[in-house]
Subunit: 546 residues, 2 copies
């Protein structure tokens, strides 16, 4: 039965000559959607091209072009001497679905995800969306303003002028050999790590390393010791890999291994940041390192050592890695260039024990996505030509300056409100708040004033016994740090007034707080708060199990 598409067809096809999409494509999409939605039935004969062109207000060439595309798609059929018809296949096989396009309707409002991912989506920790321009006191961003971009641009230009096959083709799935060699040399000279190039696998930042390690090693429900508070991205990745995270308190010696054993003696993986605990900043003691390695050996477990900013020590050499004291191959060392160069590279690596080299090579070759060769090659050159070592030396000095600027400004403006902890490495530190200034409320009030400072709770799976803020200084210019501390002071004073009525001590700039005329000794404000005079690794912040 042949039906004739009449005038009813035409209004449903809207042609907009001013739209960016070509008119022929608009007609093609309009006809196709009308047919697939059933508005034009299978077997229907379409008007002749000349008539349709006139009715829609386009040229006949445009109509013929659209018809030809629909014929190529099997949606229309041309019968010689008999016109153009909607394919009869569309009757029999039409999906019994609503007539709305996939782009507009959403019949699957709650799609069925894998069980692991469904669970993960419910339990993910929120990662902060970093602003594009560093501002006080963003963490996770290095000093973008101090990067030698002109030099970088020259290396990039040189890369694109190199041989096409190397620059454009598929490279080694484990990573650019030159970059892996450069990393091995750097680790040997700077971290005392002796390893083979084969043990190094290049990844899309540390984050891809965590995902791959999780997929490689974890069965659903496997126990993972996880520092509490601890790194957010790694936590999410290991959750997504099916791990059951066991929060383990940290103190100034790092992860409390004895407590971890009490909580879960049968564990499969431990995640630690031994060089600079994320976020509290402690260095893991040698005793704890040895105890952790021994526990992993006895449980047949693995350890991830996340060395996200271990390069940045002020006035001292970087300390040894956990990997260096591992005699039996349980430690997977993960490094990143997000802090030592910049995050947009999405470049990191893992240094795995010899026993994992074989499986990882197999997996890499079989299905790993790989990292763009341009990024790998430029970084390899940057390291090999000595720019990386020079950059690190320079940045250590700059980060120390910024750290000192933060501590000096905080000492001058925040005494009694926020005890900023001095540290001797990294790009961030913490500030401890008095109990009566709850960290989440403070972080919220700061965000409203365009100051970024995370509550430590954001890093915690279970409540940690620290009430404070994580303060990045590495990516923030000294002038911004000064301004940020001033705003911090204002906000904390406002909150202090609100939470404690008008009992704010006069010494906290009485001119700025005209509604708080009554003074109070600073001891009152200082309750629950200890200023930390020396580097954090020996500091007083000792989270305990809550």
């Amino acid at each position: 039965m042949v039906k004739r598409a009449g005038g009813a067809l035409l209004p449903s096809i809207a042609i907009d000559p001013a739209a960016p999409r070509p008119i022929a494509t608009q007609l093609y999409v309009g006809l196709r959607d009308a047919i697939l939605s059933g508005a034009i039935a299978a077997g229907t004969r379409l008007p002749a091209s000349r008539a349709l062109a006139r009715d829609v207000g386009v040229s006949r060439t445009t109509v013929i072009d659209a018809f030809e595309r629909l014929i190529a798609d099997d949606i229309l059929m041309a019968r010689v001497g008999a016109g153009t018809y909607v394919s009869p296949a569309l009757t029999a096989e039409r999906p019994d679905a609503p007539a709305a396009g996939a782009g507009t309707a959403s019949p699957r409002c709650a799609p069925r995800l894998s069980s692991a991912m469904h669970w993960t989506v419910e339990h993910l920790a929120e990662r902060s969306r970093l602003p594009h321009s560093p501002r006080a006191f963003v963490t996770g961003l290095p000093a973008l303003d101090e990067f030698p971009m002109a030099l970088w641009g020259r290396l990039a230009a040189r890369h694109w002028r190199a041989g096409r096959a190397d620059v454009m083709g598929y490279g080694d799935a484990a990573g650019d050999p030159a970059l892996r060699q450069a990393i091995v040399a750097h680790l040997g000279a700077n971290r005392g790590i002796a390893c083979d190039v084969e043990q190094v696998f290049i990844t899309g930042g540390a984050q891809e390393a965590f995902l791959r390690i999780g997929a490689l090693l974890l069965n659903p429900g496997d126990k993972v010791w996880f520092e509490n508070p601890g790194a957010i991205g790694a936590r999410n990745s290991l959750l997504a890999a099916g791990g059951e995270l066991v929060p383990v308190p940290v103190d100034s010696d790092g992860l409390k291994v004895g407590e971890a054993l009490r909580r879960s003696g049968r564990f499969r993986l431990a995640f630690v940041t031994p060089s600079h605990q994320q976020p509290l900043g402690h260095i893991m003691s040698l005793e704890r390192r040895l105890a952790l390695v021994r526990a992993a050996e006895q449980a047949g477990a693995w350890i991830i050592e996340d060395d996200y900013d271990g390069e940045f020590c002020f006035g001292r050499r970087p300390i040894s890695t956990l990997q260096s004291v591992d005699r039996s191959g349980t430690v997977i060392y993960v490094g990143t260039f997000s802090k030592s160069l910049f995050p947009a590279l999405r470049l990191g690596f893992m240094l795995v024990p010899p026993s994992l080299v074989g499986p990882l090579r197999t997996i890499s070759a079989a299905f790993s996505p790989g990292v763009p060769s341009s990024v790998q090659a430029i970084v390899a050159e940057f390291i090999a030509e000595g720019h990386f070592a020079a950059h690190l030396r320079r940045m250590r000095r700059i980060y120390q300056e910024r750290h000192d600027a933060l501590c000096a400004a905080a000492a001058a403006r925040l005494a009694g409100l926020l005890a900023v902890t001095r540290t001797d490495s990294g790009l961030h530190t913490i500030g401890i708040l008095p109990r009566w200034l709850p960290e989440k409320a403070v972080a919220q009030a700061l965000a409203a004033r365009h100051i970024s400072a995370s509550a430590i709770a954001r890093f915690s799976i279970e409540r940690a016994a620290v009430n404070g803020l994580v303060l990045g200084f590495g990516g923030v210019r000294p002038a911004e740090i000064e301004r940020g501390v001033a705003v911090l002071g204002d906000v904390l004073e406002e909150l202090a007034r609100a939470s404690r009525g008008d009992r704010l001590p006069a010494r906290y700039d009485p001119a700025a707080s005209p509604r708080s005329p009554e003074a109070e000794s600073s001891e009152g404000v200082n309750r629950g708060l200890k200023q930390c005079p020396r580097p954090l690794s020996g500091g007083p912040v000792r989270p305990t199990r809550v």
Copy 2:
């Protein structure tokens, strides 16, 4: 109890002034490893720096430097006025492990992997390692020699000169908005896809898309319909995600949906290449497309449409995507820039149904590795400035020329030995071998002559009823194609002689085969072999279930 490290300590520390590692680091590593291995016991007092310097043959400054690093590591302790000792912590907590370094010994020869990955490693399909310089008849490489690299270099240089925060910081986890917008515009103009920017997620090539989709949707053991033969990388990724692959035969209309339903009515995901079946080259018919979408709807399953080279049609417009006929949001469209630009970018994307936008945004923000911003920004500019569309137009012509060169050379040289199938799109085609020339033996013999040609079996989970080779032409210069066909002819003739004695027909260059004087009609050679005169989508290659 204090022991004194005597002469026995010193021989174990080898200092090589010519080594690239600084002497102080060599001493530090040597002492550290001697202590951690137990060769120098806990509590041991080390020689005074002056004495050790003399014995080892280094300066005293070098010794002090090494000591200071070991003290910072808590491995040594300095007691004022009493010398330097090995930390007593090393007695109590020493791991009970062999004394070999992690870099040299491998106590875990067969490491315990996750069950899924253990199984996967055993079942992975081998992906070919692509040579750096394209040679006949490598698949998967575009025409690197024809890429506008000077233009690309200028765009790259311009990128690195842009604002630092954009160029260096963390970007949108779902991908660069400019690139996603450019992709939406391109898909709209070229593939008739109407979609929202929010539906597009940038990935590290198509491979990362498959991994993420698998992790998002598959529970362990979920059934996945998979084209047989089919794409190797996707197969490995879906295996790794825990999917149980159900091989489904393809014929010239694409995946046999009826057969798939008979094999596994309860499926969770289907993987198809509708625009150009990988590797056979068929176009999936509209009937099959509609049947597949309906089957997915009824099973509550999802479909991956892998459009790896759908842009490259010879003398016609690209056909519609499967995504375009999906009215209910079951299709996830995956695109890649590996063929349309070049593989080293590691850049692809997925266009997901609206119902998956929310979960994927959450997951992307929480833990996805992300793609380097330089790669995304340069490609976005390349598309937005119109270079991409122009490049595709030019490459379509070049690929058609190379295709025609292959077919012409094959017709002149390989008649009766290899029936090269004409196609009208893509960068590769197939050649059918007579039954008495088994594809694997041919591929091996060709590899020994530096010609790459995959046996179709390499793409098969179960045996497919095709005996042939996959031949890439897109990345190979015409002169290389000619030379490759000549070698192919030689190799096939040699194998033919070996497998059929000396009954090779005289017309196959008798001068080159002096040991085959007897002639035979070409019908004999042609047994089991049909030459395919028209585009492959209607060709005679109909694999059936074996």
